[in-house]
């Protein structure tokens, strides 16, 4: 699959622009910092996921002075041409059309425009709190497992309902409240257990891929990467919720569940979060994305569009080169403010100044 053409209007600093990358090879967008290179990748990512990989709000993505941004893309997917059109509203509802039909879910989008993103912010997944690691797993699951989207929604909603009930208890558990709490335990226990099992299964299949990616990026076969899913609920979520009930009521929060779990990452037995060097952490963050990218490629039968945002400024030339050679073939869009490693072959190089000057 590949992006043939992207039209943006009123998106970030682009009043109106047309971007035409090479659909089967690498396109590099060059230019100084702060000139809108990442915004191009952000737009492509938005079309595939319905959100910004930079974590920006729609309000921030729509140009100042405009109420709506319009993103239109033409893609080649398995020999067919697919058109995606997104109308992004500063406030209120935004909509996405796939071949002029409204997209019903994020999964619809992901199937039409699969993207994998690597950005300097990925470092947070390794160094930051557990939420980033849970998101990595959940985002990958939404791409890999058709049932994951519904399960994630149920878990989120059941958790919010249970937590609301716990707050209303104000530290005391009446028999009435207990009867209702049991029902929410059941809901959260059911959906939550399914999510935990999906995440465990993913960790299992991801571990080997991540290790392979890490070893080739680091150029060191001796590095062992382990991914261990740390579950807050020992021996079944439903039982754990029941056991935690008294404590949960006292504290007014759900103390066990998939929202309290973590993914422990170790390098040769050392905790990556606290004991690895910054270089190792960066390398591991990229390996995690690469591992997911490979699993998704196997599932789809073709590689998602790869978005590499400013990764070369973060890696030494050797690792940059290894990253490029590790990538499955397919369309790759790269932004760079620094010269590319010499061996990286770009089918086309686009100067961001040209895009900004374009009024089509």
């Amino acid at each position: 699959m590949g992006l043939l053409r992207l039209d943006l209007s009123s998106f970030r600093i682009f009043a109106s622009t047309v971007f035409e990358p090479d659909p089967g090879a690498t396109t590099v967008i060059v230019g100084p910092n702060g000139t809108g290179k990442t915004s191009i990748l952000e737009a492509v990512g938005y079309l595939g996921t319905g959100r910004s990989f930079r974590g920006s709000t729609r309000e921030a993505m729509v140009s100042q002075g405009a109420s709506h941004a319009l993103l239109r893309a033409w893609l080649e997917v398995g020999g067919r041409e697919v058109q995606i059109e997104a109308e992004m509203a500063k406030v209120g509802r935004s909509k996405v059309l796939i071949n002029r039909q409204p997209a019903r879910s994020r999964r619809d989008l992901a199937e039409a425009v699969a993207v994998s993103t690597f950005s300097p912010e990925d470092l947070v997944v390794v160094r930051g709190g557990p939420a980033g690691r849970r998101d990595l797993l959940d985002d990958a699951l939404s791409l890999l497992q058709p049932s994951a989207g519904g399960i994630l929604e149920d878990v989120d909603r059941a958790l919010r309902q249970r937590s609301a009930l716990l707050r209303q208890c104000r530290g005391r558990l009446s028999s009435e409240a207990e009867a209702t709490l049991e029902v929410w335990d059941d809901r959260l226990g059911g959906a939550g257990q399914k999510l935990i099992e999906l995440r465990r299964g993913l960790c299992h299949s991801l571990e080997a891929e991540v290790e392979r990616a890490y070893q080739s990026l680091a150029g060191d076969d001796a590095q062992r990467v382990q991914m261990h899913y740390q579950c807050s609920a020992e021996g079944g979520l439903l039982d754990a919720l029941r056991r935690a009930r008294v404590e949960d009521v006292r504290r007014g929060v759900s103390t066990v569940g998939p929202h309290r779990d973590d993914l422990q990452l170790t390098l040769n037995g050392r905790e990556a979060r606290s004991q690895a060097s910054q270089g190792e952490q960066r390398c591991l963050a990229l390996s995690l994305r690469l591992g997911v990218h490979r699993l998704v490629t196997a599932q789809l039968g073709h590689p998602p569009i790869l978005l590499l945002d400013d990764v070369f400024s973060e890696l030494d030339p050797e690792r940059s080169l290894r990253l490029i050679t590790e990538l499955p073939p397919g369309q790759t869009l790269i932004t760079s403010a620094v010269p590319l490693p010499r061996q990286v072959e770009a089918a086309s190089v686009v100067d961001i100044a040209q895009l900004r000057g374009h009024h089509g």
Partner: protein
């Protein structure tokens, strides 16, 4: 911009569900143009509806001025089967099937702690009070197939089962006359879970 009475009306209309500021404005200006009689008829209809509509003392459906609702007033209905719904509008939907001949019970909502709705806010006590006097043998839990509706159904099932009556839950699955390929994966997944073996007599 508006005179105070007009502003007032726009604000009131805008508080109705599904009515945004633009629609409220359009409705208000429409009412400004219609003859006084028409406007008065609307105002009277609203006030009369508020004054005269009460809840049926049996099933909590909407009823006219303290009377029983049309379903409970109909003595041909089977009193041993009760269909529990969230909202009076759901009765209309079930009645359209023509396949249910029992009575109803309206909960007026579903369990939803986020909105402060627990069992005390629903007509649960009223339901329990009906079981023995009416000789109810089966309760059909007909709440919505979403998280809150399912939780409510489970809550009621736990309360009712010890009373020694049959408690059933409506099935969920595919819309009749639809195409499999258009079903969303959640619905289709549920339909697969609830599959039945095919026998001659079916």
């Amino acid at each position: 911009m508006y005179t105070p009475p007009l502003r007032n009306l726009v604000d009131e209309l805008g508080r109705l569900p599904g009515i945004g500021p633009k629609s409220a404005q359009r409705l208000a200006f429409h009412l400004l143009k219609v003859p006084r009689d028409d406007a008065e008829r609307l105002a009277r209809a609203i006030v009369e509806m508020k004054d005269r509509t009460t809840l049926c003392r049996v099933c909590c459906n909407v009823a006219d001025g303290g009377a029983l609702c049309p379903v409970c007033a109909d003595d041909r209905r089977d009193t041993t089967t009760v269909c529990v719904v969230e909202d009076p509008r759901d009765i209309v939907a079930v009645e359209k099937t023509g396949q249910f001949h029992g009575r109803y019970h309206v909960l007026h909502g579903a369990l939803n702690p986020l909105e402060g709705i627990g069992p005390e806010e629903l007509k649960v006590r009223e339901l329990l009070a009906r079981i023995e006097p009416e000789g109810v043998a089966e309760v059909i839990l007909c709440t919505n197939p979403n998280l809150e509706g399912e939780a409510t159904a489970m809550y009621l099932a736990r309360l009712l089962s010890p009373l020694g009556l049959e408690v059933t839950r409506i099935a969920s699955g595919l819309p009749v006359g639809g195409d499999l390929e258009y079903a969303d994966e959640l619905t289709l997944g549920r339909a697969l879970e609830g599959r039945r073996s095919v026998r001659e007599e079916n």
